[in-house]
């Protein structure tokens, strides 16, 4: 199978995770590690950029389920962005749009965090 990799970038207080390649049962642990690291560092406001992701399997989706509660408990979230149609279709079928905020672009997702912060003030 094709490889999978992640990289993380901090935009202000928001951590953006970039996914690349094929996310399935075999590569899911890599993404789990990325999330665990963010949790360890206390970074709960995350945006996942799916632009370079070619495929996601059910095990890949499970990773988001594993961390969403933790993030939300700590005033954070996992916002999803920049999905191609195929990947979005998989999320859509499972009803993820009802559970997660999915945005067209990474900036939209980041702005959402900033907006909600401003609202709090």
């Amino acid at each position: 199978m094709a490889e999978f990799s992640t990289s993380t970038k901090d935009v202000g207080e928001v951590s953006v995770i970039y996914l690349q390649g094929y996310l399935d049962a075999h590569t899911a642990p890599a993404l789990e590690n990325t999330f665990s690291n963010l949790v360890e560092k206390g970074k709960y406001q995350t945006v996942v950029n799916f632009k370079e992701l070619a495929y996601i399997s059910s095990a890949g989706l499970g990773v988001f389920m594993a961390f969403i509660e933790k993030m939300r408990e700590n005033n954070g979230d996992i916002k999803l962005s920049s999905m191609n149609d195929k990947v979005f279709n998989i999320f859509d079928l499972l009803g993820f749009p009802l559970l997660y905020e999915i945005y067209k672009t990474e900036d939209e997702a980041i702005n959402k965090y900033i907006e909600s912060k401003n609202l709090e003030k």
Partner: protein, 702 residues
């Protein structure tokens, strides 16, 4: 067989020797002093035969035992010492006896005959053995065929010995002297060829140096003690002058041989260590190359590698720094504690930029700051990369406590050795992987078995509903599940689900899901309610990462309606009037959300069934089936095939779909389970068209 034969040969030779000795004894007994020439010659011949038979017997015996040069030398030493003591003590102990008979030469003295015979026989035995030992030493480790030299010498020794028969005649004395001189020359020539010295280890060479000088001195002393006036001389002259000559030649041989041996050994000592080490390297590498094919347990292998590395590089300690999550940990420590090993590893890492080295490197510990923290003093360390797939997965370390730095030879040895070690470690990993793989395969077999038992064995049979189902498991069980519930005569329920994840864990969740749907379908009619309840039940058992996509439908056979709810599953397709419609009521997958949000977002769709309606349930194994370019089969192609075949019966449609999917994804392994369920409502067989055509043909004919 062979062994038996050689035993027999030995026995025969021994008997021959005993026979010869007994004849000699009786001859001596009855003709004590032989003055006439005939009896003298007979006497000498008998002695010669006895010696020869004894030597031949010993030769067989010695060949059965393993020949070790050092033990041969030891034996020679002991026998020489024995002869030495015999000669020394013969004077005071036997002197009087000897002189008594000399004064009355014609008187028969039983005691003297007996004692002198035993004395002579012991000397004879010892000298024979010594001679044989010389022969063995001569042929030891000789590469070329050199037996001619030795045999010539033997011939001259015999000639020289028997020439003593001529000594009564002073005119012929020159013959004896000539033979003697030639023999001594040959002895010197043959003593120079000592080729076995190089093959013994340094420690043995040191012992040999010591032994050879003592033995050489003993031989010289024996030679000197054998003067004409000594009792020994008196006794042996009476016994056999030829044997006395033989003894003399052997003593000279010994003196020369061991003197030369002493100097040869002396010159070999400085190079002994290098020779030893080369030999050890070779044997270590041989041992190790054998090891590669035998040791598969990683821990055992690491221990052995460290042990041999120590030997190969003459180091005092060794260990392997193995990468574990990018941290170097010391394993297989030999003669070094892990604290010391870790300290030294860290030092090497800091000094050599994360030790990205291609070959063996050496490091002196002069500037090592934490040297005092070491529990033992080390002066030099070496480290060689252990590579797997061109990546250094670890390093082989050795350390020396003495002040001798590693040299180029050590580098070569360690380079070669670490290459071997890398291959061995890689082998053991592959072996381990294959075991894990086998276990996984067994597990997957079990999972597939579970799945097979969970799925319905046969499709229900209804008058108005034609049902077909196909399930193709993937190698890694995908967690697909479908089921039919014949609730009562009017209600037919069906479910299709896909458990997240794969393998045995998916199979277990699947079994649970089956239980849930089976019990819920009996009491609840509404698909929405069933899914809401199923979600609640699953909350107790599903972990956060797992979820189940499902679609549940209920057909009311009497009222001809279909109710359907979908929890995150692929849409249910309805093929009607040559149009494929995705029935996709909203709904979140089971296990993704346990709040009222789940129920609030879950819709239930209700349609009235029409004749020829085709309802298609599937899992993403179909739409995501991939060809060799990793392109999806896709829902477009899927729908197209369904539409093209929608007027066929359920089995024909599903066969067609599976056929197309298989064609599409050939040469690419199936990654997910494939499930396809087709429900055909009130199919009207379109035989009319066919009949019309047949009619027209008939009409044409008439």
């Amino acid at each position: 067989m062979n062994f038996e034969l050689s035993r027999l040969k030995i026995n025969a030779k021994f008997q021959f020797f005993i026979g010869a000795a007994i004849i000699l004894f009786f001859f001596k007994f009855f003709i004590p002093s032989s003055e006439n020439t005939v009896s003298l010659i007979i006497n000498e011949l008998l002695v010669g035969i006895t010696i020869a038979s004894f030597i031949f017997f010993l030769m067989e015996w010695i060949h059965i035992k393993k020949v070790n040069p050092l033990s041969l030398v030891m034996n020679i030493g002991i026998l020489t010492a024995l002869i030495f003591f015999f000669i020394i003590f013969s004077n005071p102990l036997l002197g009087e006896l000897s002189s008594r008979t000399q004064s009355a030469p014609l008187r028969f003295d039983l005691i003297y005959s007996l004692v002198s015979f035993i004395y002579s026989t012991i000397i004879l035995g010892s000298v024979s053995y010594i001679f044989l030992a010389f022969r063995e030493l001569y042929f030891l480790k000789q590469k070329r065929n050199v037996s001619t030299y030795f045999n010539t010498m033997v011939v001259f020794i015999i000639l020289s010995s028997y020439s003593t028969l001529l000594q009564q005649n002073p005119d012929l004395l020159y013959i004896k002297d000539t033979f003697f001189i030639i023999t001594i020359l040959l002895v010197i020539l043959n003593s120079i060829k000592i080729s076995w010295i190089a093959f013994i280890i340094k420690k043995e060479k040191k012992i040999l140096l010591f032994l050879s000088i003592i033995i050489a001195v003993l031989f010289v002393l024996n030679l000197a003690g054998n003067s004409d006036s000594s009792t020994n001389y008196q006794i042996l002259t009476k016994f056999s002058p030829a044997f006395l000559q033989f003894l003399k030649i052997n003593m000279i041989y010994g003196a020369i041989y061991f003197s030369i041996l002493f100097f040869t050994t002396l010159f070999h000592i400085p190079t002994a260590e290098a020779f030893d080490r080369k030999a050890q390297e070779v044997s270590s590498l041989q041992y190790f190359s054998k090891l590669i094919t035998e040791v598969f347990d990683f821990d055992d292998l690491v221990d052995t590698i460290a042990e041999i590395a120590s030997k190969v590089s003459s180091a005092d300690a060794s260990w392997i720094a193995w990468k574990d999550n990018d941290v170097l940990k010391s394993i297989g420590n030999k003669s070094i504690g892990f604290l010391d090993a870790d300290l030294l590893t860290t030092y090497a890492k800091d000094t050599k930029k994360n030790i990205e080295v291609s070959g063996t490197e050496f490091l002196a510990l002069e500037k090592f700051q934490k040297k005092l923290q070491l529990s033992e003093p080390f002066y030099f360390i070496s480290f060689s990369p252990l590579k797997m797939h061109n990546e250094a997965k670890g390093f082989l370390f050795t350390a020396r406590k003495n002040n001798f730095a590693f040299d180029d030879e050590d580098k070569n040895a360690l380079d070669t050795f670490s290459d071997y070690a890398s291959v061995a470690i890689e082998n053991s990993h592959l072996f381990e992987e294959s075991i894990v793989k086998e276990r996984l395969e067994k597990e997957l077999d079990l999972a597939r078995e579970v799945q097979r038992k969970i799925l319905p064995a046969k499709n229900p049979d209804y008058k108005d509903l034609n049902i077909s189902s196909v399930f193709i498991p993937a190698f890694e069980v995908g967690g697909d599940y479908y089921d039919f519930f014949e609730i009562d005569s009017d209600n037919f329920g069906f479910v299709i689900a896909d458990v997240s994840g794969k393998g045995i864990s998916a199979a277990f969740i699947m079994a649970e899901v089956k239980g849930i749907f089976e019990s819920l379908s009996k009491t609840i009619r509404s698909p929405k309610e069933i899914l809401v309840k199923a979600n609640e039940i699953l909350q107790r058992t599903l972990d956060r990462k797992s979820f189940v996509s499902a679609a549940y439908g209920l057909i009311d056979l009497k009222n001809e309606t279909l109710k359907i709810s979908r929890a995150g599953h692929c849409p249910v397709l309805l093929i009607r009037n040559n149009i494929a419609e995705n029935m996709k009521p909203s709904g979140i997958g089971l296990g993704l959300n346990f709040t009222e949000h789940f129920a609030n977002t879950l819709e239930e769709l209700k349609i009235d069934l029409e004749e020829n309606d085709t309802i298609v349930l599937y899992t993403d194994g179909i739409t995501e089936a991939k060809n060799k370019n990793l392109e999806d089969f896709g829902s477009g192609l899927f729908e197209k095939i369904l539409l093209e075949n929608c007027d066929r019966n359920a089995d024909e449609i599903s066969n067609k779909v599976i056929h197309e999917v298989t064609l599409f994804s050939q040469n690419n392994p199936q990654h997910d389970d494939i499930t396809l369920v087709i429900l055909k409502w009130k199919q009207i067989l379109k035989n009319d068209g066919e009949k019309e055509w047949q009619n027209s043909v008939l009409q044409l004919k008439t």
